[in-house]
Symmetry: C2
Subunit: 142 residues, 2 copies
């Protein structure tokens, strides 16, 4: 990749990691918020597949590596302060970005003062094996 | 508001503040990423207007308080880990969420290895006064 694209991203504020909003390219749904360090950003640009940095596992997290729910990058945007990334992606596999089997991690909405699940699951995450989703308490997983 | 809605949000991970993705209800555009503490969340729910917590000014930030670009909340969503909020809003005023006068803070896209501005400004932020936007180096402002 062009080194300068990563140079322009300000990874300094959050100890080298920045938040990433991932949005479905086709329907505009906000799928998840995850994090990238510089290495994850560069791999994402180079490969065209979303690669995050898992804060809980402290390593690169190639989205879909266990489940097949990988994300093909259609567009990468940077915010005014250069410290937040917006990925617009095609969500592949079972089209479930969330490790709980929903299209989006934001499957709960506030209604009448309480959170309620407003979406239907796309897949039973048990399909991906017993350990799936249990090793990343911090964020929706691969 | 119902106290339990705030009780379900996990403010503990980020020293009491959590990231918030704000999306335009009408067109699905991701407008900005900001932060809330519990007080900002409760005010947002109570008033129906987006209120964030400014990390740079260390105080509540009522979006639009200077510019009139306030946001009317249409829906509030919570992610699977209960530590990230999605606000779907009507963007009022000049419909410029970004303190640089753009509809969205994500006005730059990666093209051919470099970031380039892909949007048109909706307003010249000088309209809001000389000090506008200069006191919040960390995030897009009111």
């Amino acid at each position: 990749m062009d080194q300068s694209a990563a140079d322009r991203v300000d990874f300094s504020k959050g100890d080298g990691i920045i938040p990433v909003v991932t949005q479905d390219f086709s329907n505009g749904r906000v799928l998840m918020v995850a994090y990238m360090n510089r290495e994850a950003f560069e791999e994402t640009v180079r490969t065209g597949r979303a690669c995050y940095f898992s804060r809980s596992r402290n390593r690169l997290w190639r989205k879909g590596e266990e489940s097949g729910n990988f994300q093909t990058v259609r567009e990468i945007r940077l915010d005014c302060d250069a410290d937040t990334i917006l990925l617009r992606v095609d969500q592949n596999g079972d089209r479930a970005a969330c490790h709980e089997g929903y299209e989006s991690c934001f499957f709960r909405a506030l209604a009448d003062g309480a959170w309620s699940v407003s979406d239907e699951r796309r897949v039973d995450p048990a399909k991906y094996g017993a350990s799936y989703g249990h090793h990343q308490p911090a964020k929706a997983d691969a």
